[in-house]
Every structure is written in C-alpha cells, then in structure tokens.
Assembly symmetry: C2
Homo-oligomer: 439 residues x 2
C-alpha cells in the first residue's frame, strides 16, 4: 500500500488531537483512504508540553523533546515544506500573521495538500490560498474551520451538489450560545454567564471574538464563499455581538415566545450578498431556538431539498481534530482529483441599514394614554407594516411595550424613532431595543 | 470538457425529478463535476405520463412518446447497458425483483456507475451489488435510498472518516412520524391520523411498510452496513410498527414528559449488532422528540466528535432527486477513484429479547392497596432496577401505573410479568404496555 505522509505544524489543542487520532486509528484510516496514512513529523515550540495531553511520542517532534526557538521552528517548517516525502501538512498554529500566511502559501506551492482549522486566516485572507490550491492541484481542507465536528464544508461541497443553496443561517459560535442559554435557563446576568463559560472552558481568557460576533462572522464568510461562490469582504460584514443583551431582554423575549440567539444569516439577492451576524429573537417554533449550550447548528435552505439542519459540537480538541482527520483521509483517497473551487466572484454586501427583516422594537416610555398611537403612527409613516403591539410591562415610572414589524429595514426604523423624538422630546425614556425576529 | 452521459431507468416520482434537475442545472452541475453531465436517455413504460410533470422532452425517452411493452422496455434497458457512451445509470424503477436485481448487476458489470434510490433492494439483496461495484471499480451511489434529501450516506462515507461511529439512531420514516405527530398535536386517533397522512400525500394507498417499520428497517440496515461495515440479515432485524400505538399511549407519554416516536437504533456490541426499529418514549430533553411532521432526523454518535444530528426532508420528488444528482456529480468528479466499500463482515444481530434498554411498563390493575408492592417485588426479583413508579391514572374500575426501569432486557420484563400473573391471577386487567425509553 502506498504511503501518505502527514506533518503537523502547531501541536496545541487541535493539533495534538489530530496527532492522537492519526496514531490511534492508523489502520482504519488507511483502510478508508486506500493508502497508509502516517504521521511523520510535528513542529511545535514546546514538544514536552504538546506531547503530554495524549502521550504523543516525542521522537515525532522536530528536535525531539527540546524546546525550540522561533528560528529553530521556522527551520523545521522549512524542512517540512522541502521534504518531497511529506504529502500533506496540517496547520494548527492559528492567527492571521503574514508569517503564517506565507508558510501556508508555500505549502500549497510545494504541491502538498494543506489542512487547516484556521477560520480567521481563511475568512480574512483566504482567497490567495484557495487560488494557490487550485493552481497546484492540491486540496485546501478546512472542514475544521467551521463549527468543529459538524461536517458542513464537505456537506456543501460534496453532498449538496445536486441542489442550489439559497440561504444559510445558524448558531455558529458555541461560547455565545452557552452564555445566552445559561442566561435564559439559569437566570444569570451577562457577566456571571460569561464568567461561568470561562470556568467551564467554553470561553477564552479574552473572549472578545466569541462575544462580539467576530468568530461567527469568520465562519459565515467561509460558508458564503463556499455556498454562493461569493468573495466578500469579511471586514465589511455586518456583525453585532451579545455584549448588550441583558437578562431583561431575554425575559422579554421569552414572554413573546422567543429565545435570543446569536444568529448568522446569509442569502444571495440580485448579485449582492445579504449577510448579518446579530442577536435575534428566535421563535420557539423554530428549530434554532432549541439549540442550547455550546452546541452549534447550521441551517441550509436549498432549492430542491428544502431545509437542512446540521447539529453538533462546534469546538473541542478531539471534535475539531476529527474534522481535520476527515480532510486528511479525503486528500489521501482522492488526491489525484483536483477539488477545485468553483470560480469566485466578488460580491458586494448589502449594507446593514438596508437589510430587510422583521424586527421587534421595545420602547420604554411614560405610562400614560396616547403613546401607543403616537409611536405606531410614526412607524406607519415610514411605510412599515406593524404585525403586533404588546404591552409587556408596566412599572411605576415606565411602560415597556414592543412593536413587532413586518419585514423592513433598520433605516426605516431609525427614521421612525427620529420622528418620535422630534414630535415628543423626552417621551422615550431609554434607547429603543431593536432586535430582528427569526420565525 | 469531457462528457459524462447519464441514463435514467424508471421515470416516476424520483426519476422525473432527477431528469428535471439534470436539465435545469446543466451548467452548475458540469462546473462542479469538471465534466459535461448530459442526460442522454430515459426508459419508462409510459413516456407521455412520465414527461408531463416537469416538461421533460419526449425525445429523451427510448421509443420517443410511444408507450412501451415490457419487452420493449427490456430491450431499451439492454441498449443502455450495451452503450459504451453511457457512463452512469440511474435506477428509479423500484422493487426487489430478480429481474431488476439482474439489471442492476449487469449495469455495474458493464463498468457503468449505478445510482439508485432503491432502499428495499439494497437492504434485502445489496451485498452482491456492492461487491460487483467494488470489483468493477465503479460507484454504487445510494444517497437517495436513506432519508431523501438528508446527506447521511456521504456524511458517513466522506465526512466521518476521521472518527468512529458508535451508535446510530433516528427517525427514518416520515409517514409514521407524521402520523404520530398529528396524533400528539392534533389529538387524533391512529386511523384518522393515517387517513390524514394519505390525504396529505405522506402515506401510500398501501401504507404497510411505512407503518410496520419495514421501510425504516430497510434504511437502518443500509446505515449499519455503511457505518459498522456489518453485513446483517434485514429479515432478522427486530422491528415493531406504530399500528398499536393508541391516543392514550401518547397522552400517557406526554404526562411523563415524552413523545412517542418510531425510533431506529443500532450499535456494535462485542462483535454483534444490536439493532431495533420500535416505537419509543422519547424524553422531551432529547432532540428527537422535537422532530415533527414528515421530517426525518438521523443521530450519529461518534467516538471523537460526539453527537451529530442531521435533520431534513426524508422524501419527496425533488428532495430525493437532489440526492440522486449529488451522487451523479460525485461519480463524474471522482470517477477515476474507486469508492471501495470497506470489507464487510457478517454480523449476528442480538435477538430482540436480549436488547438492553430502559423501559416503561404500564400496568392496568384493580385500584386497591398492595398492588404496587407485588408488582415491583416481582420486577426486582428479575434483577431489574426500578427508576420510578408513577400512578398516572385512576378510574372507577382500574388503576394505571407505570414503572420506569433502568436498562434491562425484554426477557427479564416478560419473566417478571409471568411471575405477577402466576402469583396474582387476574390482577393485570390489560396486557402491560412495554415501551423503551430514549433519554
């Protein structure tokens, strides 16, 4: 049986998991691939630390058990790239540095397959890499970069090939979903829920990218590229995080038969891409409302096959590693066939204020007659159809009421609010909360 | 661009959908496959009827618009098999006749790829076909045979290759799920729910295979073969249908925080396969309890990646056709690579009475003191641990109470019931209902 030799660059949480699976499942993997898949080299700055978790043999590391300087590691990486007997390189270093980008590019240019879990790099600078993979007729595998163990990449690339993807939505970030779920089900406020998520290992010490929607937006950018063949600017993608979601917002949503979830949504529309990452009020009837904890769920709406949901573990060492290994097997099995990207077209994003969605607007006002009429009149004047008006809460000083609109733009809503402020200065006691609704 | 020519045998619900997608998506499909995918021939007894749904050009049919005799159709099929310019044949005739089996075998032996939606044939007589595909280095594509649009076959074959499937479960039959859902949510009894399903087009005029678990068992057999490499005897697979589920059973389950679902379940155990198709009481916390209507859901538990759920449309013309077409694209794209089956081993099935599960047993007895003690003592005497005992209902003549056991076998339960009957003849006023519980 022909050999298929693999090297791993960066042996942290995911990289060490890949090494473990490659070593543990050697025979099964080789049987599946029709080639003898061998892990031949690992490069990491701190081999002893990297090897400890899963008992990885130290002789696999470049330099053995010795910690490496950055220069030594670079030399090891150069050796891997130059080695004609290495067929595939796993990149699990992480980050979006030019240093790493050039390493990834050189791997592809050397005719080796590249498998990566690096969503930030692919979302922000992926195009050059995909082009290089295409030119050099190798696989750029990135199953692990979107939602860990959930096989959404190969599902779109190999299984939805008899169909047309119309829309993608989902819960693509486990940390924020864990936080929102515990806020809802355990009655926590945001800071406590965040601290719990960190203690449970679901959030990093610096949780910014998880909380502010950046991580989910990386994943959505990658899915948009794959499903729509659309090259969009990650930095222009509209994203809003969950930092401003309060316990009260969640209670309020529950009263209205909804859960608040950080939702990614994308569709093609007249040659543009309409995409957003934002907290939404998801109706209880919608499947996504039932996805709790760190679980991820990707919903794909296809032309012929209708709605699909893929639910699973979006993170974790072995979970993500299993996705990396599936790409290794794929490359080994189908290596003579170019897995070419369909040609990418540059697509503009619809600007956030023009995105058409149904919204829930919650107003805090004085509790006196006439206000509902004034507010709803201003909304109607912007040509927004109102679905329902609920008077959710009254207390001594304030009345909270919410207006559910039919699909409209944020711009229309903001104009309506400006008009309310102009006609009745001081009426709005708080900044109105505007949250899209997912039915 | 190289041509990749396709013929369709049998242009009914699914076959005509395949023709439509091939004709409508010609360009996209060819771009994805890197080959010009062409529909060149259709064989059907009644071309005018077959062409009507989707406006399929009659000149594609063997014999043009003319209805064919069985002999003429056979001759057309022989021509397709003999034609060296046809690369792939779609079989959407259906049934498990030797006539059809031989056609399928000859297609593979002629070096053509074969794509089929025929779950009955694959479950009952598939081995010879898989062997022939392997020997002749062609693809036997069967994505459409299990759960319509849900891409479970390629997910296991191409995406879960970095992992090990431990268990498969799910709702694999949409008709029975539609019936159980409407019984639960609309308060219907079984005959009315069945009639509704037939009127809504979810159930055939003869719904036996959907109702008695046979259809689900076909799918489970196929999944067991793929995921475990295990060759089992379809006819020996334990299956129980939903015919005996009453409105009361469903109410009762709801009182206990469960929905009744027709569940397929399989795992490997010490060189045997433990598999069953049976109604289960699914706890509300379990995802499967939320899958309603004709929707299907496959749950796969993997060693590294944990639990995966794939939810989607399990039937329908274009839904199922899109799965067939994905196999056509796959064959065209990867045709030079044998998609070999891992070697199949013959596995014995664990006999139904030895399957270990937690059960709910509902007893109908007289309403008088002492009975709970007698019944639970008999259960304990069979070495069954009891989880909870609930007194769910009392009426003038009877008390209904349920015993939830820890995992045990049906044999143990039956012995306990026999002992109760022996010790207190006449105590049990109805045959106890024994339903496994899925947590």
């Amino acid at each position: 049986m022909e050999y298929f030799n693999v090297a791993i660059l960066g042996c942290g949480t995911v990289g060490s998991g890949v090494a473990k699976i490659l070593l543990d499942m050697l025979e099964e993997l080789s049987a599946r691939a029709g080639k003898k898949i061998q892990l031949v080299k690992i490069v990491d700055l701190f081999p002893k630390k990297a090897a400890a978790n899963y008992n990885i043999p130290l002789q696999l590391f470049c330099g053995g058990s010795k910690d490496l300087s950055r220069e030594e590691a670079t030399r090891c990486i150069d050796e891997v790239i130059a080695d004609p007997n290495i067929h595939l390189v796993v990149e699990t270093i992480g980050g979006t540095s030019d240093y790493l980008y050039n390493i990834m590019l050189r791997i592809l240019q050397s005719g080796k397959h590249l498998v990566t879990a690096n969503k930030a790099m692919l979302a922000e600078k992926g195009n050059g890499l995909f082009q290089a993979a295409s030119q050099h007729n190798v696989l750029l595998g990135y199953e692990a970069s979107v939602c860990g163990a959930i096989p959404i990449i190969k599902t779109i690339r190999e299984s939805f090939t008899g169909d047309k993807v119309l829309e993608i939505s989902g819960i693509l970030n486990g940390t924020s979903n864990y936080i929102l779920s515990t806020m809802q089900h355990e009655g926590l406020d945001f800071p406590t829920a965040l601290k719990n998520a960190q203690q449970a290992g679901y959030a990093e010490a610096d949780p910014s990218l998880d909380i502010n929607g950046g991580d989910a937006a990386h994943k959505l950018t990658i899915l948009i590229r794959l499903a729509f063949g659309a090259n969009i600017d990650y930095f222009a993608l509209h994203k809003q995080g969950i930092e401003h979601i309060s316990r009260e917002d969640i209670d309020f949503a529950q009263e209205m038969g909804c859960s608040i979830k950080l939702i990614c949504y994308a569709k093609q529309l007249d040659g543009k891409v309409f995409a957003t990452v934002t907290p939404m009020m998801v109706k209880n009837e919608n499947y996504l409302s039932k996805v709790n904890g760190a679980t991820n769920c990707v919903e794909v709406k296809n032309l012929y096959g209708g709605k699909h949901y893929l639910v699973g573990k979006g993170a974790g060492s072995l979970e993500t590693a299993s996705a990396v290994v599936s790409d290794i097997v794929f490359a080994a099995k189908y290596q003579k066939v170019a897995v070419s990207m369909p040609e990418l077209k540059d697509f503009d994003l619809v600007e956030a204020a023009s995105i058409v969605l149904p919204y829930n607007i919650t107003f805090a006002t004085e509790d006196r007659p006439g206000i509902t009429g004034l507010v709803t009149t201003a909304i109607g004047a912007q040509n927004i159809n109102i679905d329902t008006v609920s008077h959710n809460r009254h207390n001594k000083e304030k009345a909270y009421f919410s207006v559910v609109t039919m699909p409209c733009t944020l711009r229309q809503i903001q104009q309506a609010i400006a008009e309310i402020r102009q006609k009745a200065p001081g009426l709005l006691l708080e900044e109105p909360k505007i949250i899209p609704i997912l039915y």
